[in-house]
Amino acid sequence: MAGVRTLKTGISGVRGVVGDSLTPHLLVSFAEAFGTYLGGGTIAIGRDTRPSGEMVRSALVGGLLATGCNVVDLGIVPVPTLQIACARNREIGGGIAITASHNPQEWNALKFIRFDGIFLYPHQVEELLNVYHQGEFSLCGNSQVADVVIDQHAVDRHIEELLANVDVSAIAEADLRVVVDCCNGAGSVVSKRLLTELGCRVVAINDTPDGIFPHMPEPVPEHLQQLEAAVRQHNADIGMAQDADADRLALVNECGKAVGEEYTLALAAEVVAARRGPIPLVANIVTSRMLEEVAARYDCPVHRSPVGEVNVVMAMQQAAQQFKRTGQTSEDDHVFGGEGNGGVIDPRIHYCRDSLRAMCLILEGLARHGQPLSHWIAQAFGASAITKQRVECPAARLQPVMLALREEYADQQLDLTDGILVRWPDRSWVQARPSNTEPIMRVTAEADDRQHAEALAERAVKVIRGVVG
């Protein structure tokens, strides 16, 4: 990796390449910064299955103990499990998740979590980075060094909560055959068990928690061929694929075809809206229009936010607040949302993307619906094709790119929530925005068919390439 700058600090935390930019020194300093920022107290940590997780974990423990913190180590857990653990335990003042989600194996990263189990808000990340850069940490003396406690039951508690909030008997009665692909990631320690307890007949593939990814850990169709084949082989009703830290879920239908990760949120929203009525539905700006279809069906207001889990959560919290003023009883029922990349956020459990909650909702829906997944999808949603592209674009070229795009679409109404979004009356749209994690522009387009979507995307890509060169 010589010559390529790989360290990335930003609202999603700090991420880098092991053996290159992500060094024990950097990690221990970030841990001290976090401990200093929170003023000590108890901090929970958890990790995905990446082999570098132990090295990172050790650095975090060292840095946290050095700033007088108590550490609760949850071990290898899905990120939502860690987030929920922070929220449920009053003593926990914050958390750090060790995971680089869908990035390839040589990466790892830290994501910082608040006392309430939500990722740090952007202004808080800024404050944390200031502490880190200042380099003055609140180190404690020998007698104040606290303890590391191992908590092996966070997954048990997560499963318990999930089972208490889903119609287990309906799912069990449907006797569904499920193939789950955990990508040898954090889902490996929980998914098979959860699905079994839901009464499904489960075949688990890639559920060895060793972090040796059998395919790229992003649950998009091109990575799911093995799962597709397994669904066909086992005659399964549904295939489910998780990413490395089990916050995202994608589906394969009963014909053994990956339906596309956008359907996860769409189907989950359908299930929730059908049950809870006209609550606000919230997603990021590049999530499929299928959300609006669900909203139309159940009279739900829709809110769109900038990309990023924490942005969606903030928008959800705001929407829930507004809705509460209309006089409902429990705030957690007042909103539902997520991201079209397969991230479902249901505050009934917690304000976090949770592939396990997504599994529960979708299986409940499938069981109730009584029809194969492909039928359910065809009935619930109009034809839609979505394409997601990436174009290299160094930060220095961002401004001229944005200007060029605005010029290109000058005769349209533009949504500038996060980059630039153009919508057409036939409900097709294209969106272009800089990535939070890489030096690229992401272009997403949706239309009734693939050809149209790709044409829309291509137009924007051409403009960008024209500026970048």
Binding site: P24, M55, A59, G62, E106, C140
Partner: protein
């Protein structure tokens, strides 16, 4: 600000002040870079900060591709033996020895179980200063392993060095002070194995040090009281990480730490282990007297564990040790070993036909030692020493040694002027048959130093 200390004794500092996580991580990476990817054993003493230091060290070692093996809380000589006997490429002991609990430190051990020698320590420091470390890729990282039996294997090895049945038969009545340090869970066990009736003080590893963890006279009051109260035959005091041993006699007499070496020397030379005796320049001349009685030579080195063990190796010594109570038994391992010293003294005791106090009276010549120090900025220290070195020797002088400052030896007396390795001081130590003479020697040379500073 209590400064960071980088020396041949490793890197040591105050937790929360100079011993920062970044420093620990970097030194661990430097060491991992130095020894290369391979198994590296890590141990610690009972200091509360040990878990923090451990986590930083583990991360740094892993980052450089080492396979970390955690052997837990145990004496440093146990770590050294485990490294020597296994496939490890090196190890780190997390202990600040006799420093108080606010300190912690890293001591670096090489493949053969011996601390890095001064040259090797410099090489390690060079790597640290350059800041270019081996950085393992994601698929080159090794998971952590543990070896919780290393300390017990050490006990077995120690027991294997002595005549266990002879010691058992003597049914020695022992009091032992573990100072709530790394020997807490091992020394009492070993003593019981050897058939001793044991009264234990301070064997709780989770509690703080009840007194400074150094087995010197000032810290042995409680042990003495217990020895008297239970009428023990002998009292043993360990330091925090099991390398030094202090002694209290059955009459409640607190022996100087020098006695530990003398008794061990007597034991080993009686046993007939071949080779000379190695000690440092500041240790009592009693060592020479005992060696002479057995027809052996004595080689003296500069102050510091690393010098002792190097010389013990080079001279193929029968025994080596320092007046601080740290003894090396080459037949066991080239490591300072408090419990090994304890056990050898028990064997000596078991073989005596008279009380220990009487034996000492009759066979171990006693001298009076006196010492003082004066502050001296590092820049000046060496020129001060040069002046003293080059001046004319006093009439009583028979020989001198310039290895470490200057030591002037006479008949039954000597004086040693040297610069401290760890603080901005010049130390003057003298020994003579007569206490007044020793003190006079110190006063004389201290005065000379003071005039020059």
């Amino acid at each position: 600000m209590r400064a960071l200390k980088l020396s041949i004794a490793g890197v040591r500092g105050v937790v929360g002040e100079t011993l920062t996580p970044e420093l620990l991580v970097d030194f661990a990476q430097a060491f991992g870079t130095y020894v290369g990817a391979g198994p590296v054993l890590v141990s610690r003493d009972t200091r509360n900060s040990g878990k923090m230091v451990m986590a930083c060290v583990v991360s740094g070692l892993m980052g450089s591709g080492c396979q970390v093996v955690d052997i837990g809380i145990c004496p440093t000589p146990a770590l050294q033996l485990a490294i020597k006997e296994g496939p490890a490429v090196g190890g780190i002991a997390i202990t600040a020895g006799h420093n108080d609990a606010t300190w912690n430190a890293l001591k670096f051990v090489r493949e053969d179980g011996i601390f890095l020698n001064p040259r090797q320590n410099e090489e390690l420091l060079d790597i640290y200063h350059q800041g270019e470390y081996l950085k393992a890729q994601w698929d080159e990282l090794a998971p952590m392993a543990s070896d919780p039996d290393a300390a017990d294997r050490h006990l077995q090895a120690i027991a294997g060095q002595v005549q266990v049945s002879k010691i058992r038969a003597a049914a020695v009545n022992v009091a032992v002070d573990c100072v709530n340090g790394a020997c807490s869970q091992y020394s009492p066990k070993l003593l019981r194995e050897l058939g001793c009736a044991v009264v234990i003080i301070s064997d709780e590893p989770h509690r703080p040090f009840p007194h400074p963890p150094e087995p010197s006279r000032a810290n042995l009051g409680q042990l003495r009281a217990v020895v008297r109260a239970v009428d023990a035959d002998i009292g043993f005091a360990h330091d925090a990480d099991g390398d030094r041993l202090g002694l209290v006699g059955s009459d409640g007499q607190i022996y100087s730490e020098q006695m530990t070496l003398c008794l061990c020397e007597e034991m080993i030379l009686r046993r007939g282990d071949p080779g000379p005796v190695v000690t440092n320049l500041s240790t009592t001349q009693t060592v020479d007297d005992i060696a002479a009685r057995h027809g052996r030579q004595v080689h003296r080195t500069g102050i510091g564990q690393a010098y002792i063990t190097e010389s013990a190796l080079n001279y193929r010594a029968a025994i080596a040790g320092e007046g601080s109570g740290g003894i090396v038994f080459p037949r066991l391992n080239y490591a300072h070993d408090s419990m090994a010293a304890m056990v050898h003294i028990l064997e000596l005791l078991a073989g005596l036909d008279r009380p220990l106090a009487q034996f000492i009276e009759e066979n171990i010549p006693r001298y009076a030692m006196s010492g003082q120090q004066v502050a001296c900025p590092t820049e000046q220290a060496f020129s001060v020493l040069e002046t003293i070195r080059t001046q004319q020797l006093p009439s009583w002088a028979l020989d001198r040694d310039l290895q470490d400052g200057i030591k002037i030896m006479g008949d039954g007396q000597w004086v040693h002027v040297r610069v401290s390795q760890t603080e901005p001081l010049i130390r003057v130590i003298a020994e003579a048959r007569d206490e007044a003479v020793a003190q006079e020697l110190v006063r004389d040379y201290l005065g000379q130093v003071r005039q020059l500073v």
